[in-house]
Amino acid sequence: MGNDAVAASCHPNPGDGGGMTPRDLAAGGALDALIRQVAGGDRVALRHLYERESPRLYGLALRIVRRPDAAADAVQDAFVQIWRNAASFSPAMGSGGGWMASIVRYRALDMARRLGRETLTDAIPDSIDESPSPLEHLETARDAVRLRRCLERLDDKGRRAITLAFINGLSHAQVAEHLAIPLGTVKSWIRRGLASLKECLAA
């Protein structure tokens, strides 16, 4: 699928380091510098990138595919893609960490779909971890504070459906199963939630 394209996508709102703490900025800067070195063909830089980011990225993949072998495959594919597409990354497009997380997520989502995510509705909801609440982690950076404020404005159902789906990589059907509501209702909650979220974030 077009993951290469996604990796190469241009991020809007350039360079909004925004309300990040100096430590966040320094860490982000180091990550961006590593990605630039990878773009120049530096394998040692890729290794550093791997050592620094692989636990976080493996955690994201595992959460979505729920199988260690598939999560490892997703991270492997993602790093090969990071190696190939590093030149298309520019710090002006968004954070390096976000860029890598997106690459891993799309790989993992593809795999989850291939593993039959759409048909596995009954087995999966038990393993969904809803604690700690994702909102509790949204405290520090300015972007996160804004997202938190806007998520809190949504009604409970829309907020739960959106955070559940994003963090756990669930299909509409799985969200419906987990929240014990009809599929069509979930779809409209999510769409309504996304629309209000965008409106709030753009304000």
């Binding site: 077009g2 394209a5 809007p12 493996y58 979505i64 710090p91 002006a92 299909s171 965008k198």
Partner: protein, 230 residues
């Protein structure tokens, strides 16, 4: 199908980034991305907006053999020193790009100013239009007499069912349509309009044949101020 309406398109992009779309729909979106600027913009926007939520997911150490598996998939031959250096120079954002942009603008200023001074056929104008998303220089628009000529500075792909439309915004007034952009096409503008006050040019993504309303309907992709060269 990717919707034409931007709000609909944006919701589809949001569902794609959330990951809730089924395999079929996700594939349609992924395959449309490379050639669909507005969709790519919307997806990138959602990725950026939702990314902070991922901090809730705990890190897990990957299996110890994973790095060796990745390394085995990298191309065997290392680039020679000077090629790697050249590639780094080329790829290094954004100083290099700004130098390129500056060089192009400088050269153009010289080539436009000298003949104009010699032939004295009216003032020359120039605008560099940068992408709203990432600030890269995308178009150079040259104005002379009563025409504007847009030249793409980077590869531009427009979906086959869309056109790029150029707009002229005079100090505080609503955008005036100038015309659709096509390679080598020169667009006429009303007399003296270029000699007016502060002018801004913008390029938006519109349905085939241009905006049906006379005002921009699609996302504005590039913009930049017009400057008089002499």
């Amino acid at each position: 199908m990717i919707p034409d309406d931007f709000d609909e398109l944006d919701l589809l992009a949001g569902e794609y980034v959330l990951g809730t779309l089924g395999a079929q729909q996700a594939k349609v979106v992924a395959e449309a991305l490379p050639s669909h600027g507005a969709l790519r913009y919307a997806v990138a926007d959602w990725e950026r907006l939702l990314a902070p939520l991922l901090a809730a997911v705990p890190a897990v150490p990957p299996p110890p053999t994973l790095w060796r598996r990745i390394e085995a998939q990298l191309p065997a031959a290392a680039e020679s020193g000077w090629r790697a250096w050249l590639r780094r120079q080329w790829d290094a954002p954004p100083v290099w790009r700004w130098m390129t942009t500056g060089a192009v603008a400088g050269l153009l200023a010289i080539t436009l100013t000298i003949p104009a001074a010699l032939r004295d056929d009216g003032p020359r104008y120039m605008a560099i239009l940068t992408a709203i998303g990432d600030g890269r220089a995308g178009w150079l628009v040259e104005g002379r007499g009563r025409v504007l000529e847009p030249v793409a500075l980077a590869g531009v792909t427009t979906p086959s069912d869309r056109d790029l439309e150029l707009w002229l915004i005079a100090d505080g007034a609503p955008p005036q349509p100038v015309g659709l952009i096509a390679p080598g096409r020169v667009l006429p503008v009303a007399g003296k309009v270029l000699a007016g006050g502060k002018l801004v040019l913008a390029i938006s993504l519109e349905p085939k044949g241009g905006s049906p309303t006379g005002a921009p309907t699609g996302p504005v992709l590039y913009s930049g101020a017009m400057r008089r060269l002499r």
